[in-house]
């Protein structure tokens, strides 16, 4: 019996705002991360999908190790590896249609590549070349975003615009556990919910924001529990289970595409490597923790399933490895070419048209460069 039903109670009509507009129960995430691999339900997964995921995971892992190696050789300024998180990255890169948009965070090079961005172009920023090495409109992949969580409202705005225009375009936006603490995360989720925008928010909870562990980042039961506060359903998934990731993301994208509104997904995973090559992870975490997670490797999890179904043939393994090695070789080769940057491009895209001030400054630089050239020629 609610208080309002008590007999004899003074009972004015409850004002309209009292009625909860949404039932909270369906918005709450599962109590533990959703998982398919290693369960009977995995049997239903399409073998072609498993094989596709496998090839991509292997290629993704190789990309991570190769890029990290390139930092040691000084060919890349910095690389934030997603080793251990490939299942999230690859699934995110694969679930979208061509017309959809991906809004990656700075760590999500793999997702961009899985979506079709050229592996070398994706590293342009990280090698010290121009800030975005690919044309975002060509791949519908927004620039890899460094200021954390700031691209989430962009994803919402883009999805909202598409919906206003009658296009069934979905935006998938990626953020880390640390990024969920930023105000922009909050504002983006709220806008998406109020506008019922076709956006999927994917949190990769990899346990750390650089050195800061999750427990210092949040006291929530899970990050997926943040959804209900916006009226957005939250899902909790094993981020190392590529098949579960693919399924949950696909469902969310479908839901968004058919007018069901946004979804918040927390993928529980782990950053196996240091934050970037420049980081020293031994300062803030124990090897034993890393080892525990290495035992829950996304590639091994998938291999086990493939093997148990008899799909992990020698051919499959060899093809995947060869494709990965080819990609790595191409990466090494092309990253060893020096990128010839045109200094005059500094002024090319500040505005649609150069201001008179920029024209003056461009002329100044031109003169300096010419003088340098003259001096060199004299020598």
């Amino acid at each position: 019996m609610t208080v309002l039903e008590q007999p004899g109670a003074y009972r004015p009509t409850p004002p309209p705002a009292w009625q909860p507009r949404t039932d909270p129960a369906p918005l709450l995430p599962e109590a533990e991360p959703y998982r398919l691999l290693g369960t009977d339900a995995a049997a239903a997964a399409d073998p072609d999908l498993l094989l596709k995921l496998y090839a991509e995971l292997v290629r993704g892992r190789r990309y991570n190790t190769q890029a990290t190696a390139l930092t040691r050789q000084g060919r890349l300024a910095v690389y934030p590896s997603s080793t251990g998180q490939e299942a999230c990255e690859i699934a995110a890169g694969l679930v979208l249609e061509d017309r959809d948009w991906l809004f990656p965070s700075y760590r999500d090079t793999l997702a961009a590549i899985a979506r079709g961005v050229d592996p070398v172009s994706a590293l342009t920023l990280l090698r010290g070349d121009w800030h975005t090495g690919y044309d975002p409109t060509q791949y519908r992949v927004a620039p890899l975003c460094t200021p954390l969580a700031t691209q989430l409202p962009h994803a919402v705005g883009l999805a909202h615009a598409a919906r206003l225009r009658g296009d069934d375009v979905v935006a998938l936006a990626m953020v880390g556990d640390g990024g969920t603490s930023e105000g922009d995360f909050h504002e983006a989720l709220n806008f998406a919910a109020v506008w019922q925008s076709p956006v999927v928010f994917l949190i990769q909870n990899n346990g750390f924001a650089i050195s800061v562990p999750l427990a210092k980042q949040t006291a929530a039961p899970s990050l997926a529990h943040k959804g209900v506060g916006y009226g957005i359903p939250g899902r909790l998934v094993d981020g190392n289970d590529a098949v579960a990731m693919h399924q949950v993301l696909t469902e969310a994208v479908e839901r968004a595409r058919t007018g069901g509104g946004p979804t918040l997904i927390e993928a529980v995973t782990y950053r196996v490597e240091a934050h970037t090559n420049a980081d020293d992870a031994t300062r803030y975490r124990a090897d034993s923790e890393v080892e525990a997670w290495r035992a829950h490797d996304p590639i091994e999890l998938l291999e086990h399933e493939l093997r148990s179904r008899g799909l992990l043939t020698d051919d499959v393994i060899r093809d995947a490895r060869e494709a990965a090695e080819q990609m790595a070789a191409r990466l090494r080769e092309r990253m060893n070419e020096d990128a010839p940057l045109e200094p005059m491009d500094l002024f090319a895209h500040v505005y649609a048209e150069k201001t008179s001030q920029l024209r003056e400054q461009a002329a100044q630089l031109r003169a300096e460069l010419d003088a340098e050239l003259d001096a060199e020629e004299e020598r």
């Binding site: 121009w130 800030h131 975005t132 044309d135 975002p136 409109t137 060509q138 927004a142 620039p143 200021p147 700031t150 989430l152 409202p153 962009h154 994803a155 919402v156 705005g157 883009l158 999805a159 909202h160 615009a161 598409a162 206003l164 225009r165 935006a171 105000g183 922009d184 909050h186 504002e187 983006a188 709220n190 806008f191 109020v194 491009d345 090319a348 895209h349 500040v350 505005y351 649609a352 201001t355 008179s356 001030q357």
Partner: protein, 360 residues
């Protein structure tokens, strides 16, 4: 150089209109002409904005074209970025100057840089309307002049109209621009009126051109936005002192019209920059410095500045002491070293002199 006097005589079909009305009309015409123009912000829908600039737009174009957003400025601007990425032309209203601050990261790290970051592939045709400045008796946070922040951010255009015709013309142009524009609306000029024909709006000079609002020979007052009428009034008053002052309305701080400004200063040989924003680190420093770089040997005196004091914006009861008014402008003009006997030696004591006389 473009010389346009403030319209005084009524032309056929022209009726007095306020700057607020001209702005509303500009939004309406832009939305009618271009279906990609979307207005968004806090209270811009049914209410028509706290200054009623968006009045009637939601009714005419629907709530999808003129949208009340949740109360979160970073979210508003961030969403507008995404909308612009999809080909829309969002016009964002920030309710007051100081309430644009929560959106600064979006503004600096994205709005101003997206085109450059993507080598031109992702332009952001956004307009950010900011009712700005003081003089309306607003309580704390409702009277800031924040243009220095915007000027220091390459990639933004920064526009501030001072006349009814410019309010219309510059806003139309800002919305049509393929670059992000911070459009500063001088709050206390919202209710200023001029004869204006809404159906055949007056052509105005483009963004990036300054306009000589009053020609003169003795000295140049360089100003913009809410200080333009102050300078015109000061110029009138100065006639009694025998000074014939030229008044240049910058209209846009970025791009900056060096040509028009410097031509004027070279002609008059003296200049005062006038604005409401605080002096230290404010727009006047840039303006004075660049004029001096370009006109040094034409200058009979240093370019002086009349600006708000270097203090947080004061409460309404004290704002008249803070705002640069006619007297302070005239005081500055008086200190442009008209005396023949001025020698470098007097400069040693210049600090005291300045303190006693009103130079910024």
């Amino acid at each position: 150089m473009t010389t346009t006097a403030v319209p005084t005589a009524p032309t056929t079909g022209r009726k007095p209109a306020s700057m607020a009305q001209a702005l509303t009309r500009a939004l309406r015409d832009a939305m009618a002409e271009d279906p990609t123009v979307h207005v968004m912000g806090e209270d811009v829908g049914a209410l028509g904005g706290v200054f009623r600039i968006t009045d009637g737009l939601a009714k005419e174009f629907g709530e999808d074209r003129c949208t009340d957003t949740p109360l979160a400025e970073a979210g508003i601007l961030g969403a507008a970025v995404g909308m612009a990425m999809y080909g829309l032309r969002p016009v964002v209203e920030m309710q007051f100057d100081a309430f644009a601050y929560p959106a600064f990261e979006q503004l600096i790290s994205h709005v101003s840089r997206m085109r450059n970051r993507t080598r031109g592939a992702v332009p952001l045709p956004l307009t950010i309307r900011v009712p700005y400045g003081g003089g309306i008796g607003g309580v704390e946070h409702h009277s800031d002049s924040s243009e220095a922040y915007y000027m220091a951010t390459p990639g933004l255009h920064v526009v501030a109209p001072a006349t009814v015709a410019d309010a219309y013309g510059l806003l139309r142009e800002s919305i049509a621009s393929d670059d992000p524009v911070v459009f500063l609306e001088p709050k206390r000029l919202y209710w200023s009126k001029a004869d204006w024909a809404p159906d055949e709006p007056q052509r105005v000079a483009p963004i990036g051109r300054a306009v000589v609002r009053r020609t003169g020979t003795s000295a140049t007052l360089i100003t913009y936005g809410p200080s333009v009428p102050v300078c015109l009034e000061a110029a009138e008053a100065a006639r009694a002192e025998g000074w014939d002052l030229e008044v240049v309305d910058l209209r846009s701080l970025v791009p900056f019209d060096d040509e028009t400004v410097c031509a004027s200063v070279r002609r008059t040989g003296r200049a005062v920059v006038v604005h409401e924003a605080t002096g230290f680190g404010g727009p006047g420093g840039e303006i004075a410095a660049r004029v001096t770089e370009r006109c040094f040997h034409h200058l009979e005196a240093p370019v002086l500045r009349v600006a708000g004091f270097d203090i947080p914006y004061p409460p309404p009861m004290l704002e008249r002491h803070h705002l640069p008014g006619v007297d302070r402008v005239l005081d500055a003009v008086a200190r442009l070293q008209w005396e023949a006997g001025w020698t470098p030696q007097s400069e040693q004591g210049a600090d005291d002199e300045r303190a006693a006389g009103g130079v910024y």
